[in-house]
Amino acid sequence: MAGNNTQLVSMLVQIADDHLILGHRLSEWCGHAPMLEEDLSMPNMALDLIGQARQLYTLAAELEGGQRTEDDLAYLRSDREYRNCLLVEKGNVDFAHTMLKQFYFAAFMKPFWQQSLNSTHKAFAAIAGKAVKEISYHIRHCGEWIIRLGDGTEESAARTRAAVAELHPYTQELFWMDPRHRSLVTSGVIPDVSLIASDWQSTVDRVFREARLSVPDVEYPLSGGREGRHTEEFGLLLAELQYMQRTYPGAQW
């Protein structure tokens, strides 16, 4: 069981990292959205993601035995210790790029949380119960935008196609099952992420069909984040994310 606990902590931190980093990227739009309505909508979604990250880090810190807090996990690790997938750290390009990135991630997390509702780990199942409602809205909101942008003007369609071309190669990493987490699947704690691919694909197909986008064939899938190998822009993101805790350790307000 002790071994299982270490694996669960590592899995929780991995999911939390995805949410913290994607939430942080999304929060960069605050005050810069193309219209006022989206200036509220995007930070709303960012707060959902950061809230989910907090719950996951808190649970991980508890299971670990309390040597570290949620803040230590979120703010005081080095880049190689973050296990988020590369997709979520990709820098913002334009609105279409951001909506697509959120959509890809939400289309993965919805079935993940749905299958986690029956987790044998009660505290984890409780987090899933709250998160599944939030992520369902993210799919709907970002999906509807992609349909309108992809099937919109010449410019919006071109930007959306460019986003697909850039981001699609990063999506396969979502379905990579860390061998260290296998026993968590066997004991019914977490779902097998490699089995979520078909569910994800059908969500993407449905929206892409309406958006008149085609799903590209990916020759060279890009990955590394799950093993701590990140992109160059991740360092800049962390510098901003961690600045306050590093400069004023333990600061409270």
């Binding site: 193309p34 219209m35 006022l36 309505e37 509220l40 909508s41 709303n44 809205y137 709907r140 909101h141 509807e144 935008w145 309108r148």
Partner: protein, 96 residues
Amino acid sequence: MSSEPMIPLWEVFIRPRNGLHHKHVGSLHAADSEMAVQAARDVYTRREEGNSVWVVRAEDIVASDPSRSEENFDPAADKVYRHPSFYDIPDEVGHM
């Protein structure tokens, strides 16, 4: 944004709780009805303001003419007998 005039204006109505009626809370811009409902949810229900949203295209609302407000509304001013305030209500009835 310069493209904003092309995006229609919608009036937003929120129902705070079951049993109450929808109340006008403000307006927003959205390209179509689905996006208007989503924007209304995002802009006006962040603090648990309600559990149902209506959106109506602002141009579909027909309003009374302000220049006719005297002929429309002043005649009601001296008809107090239209208020049900002249009945004795037994205490047992409670709130009506």
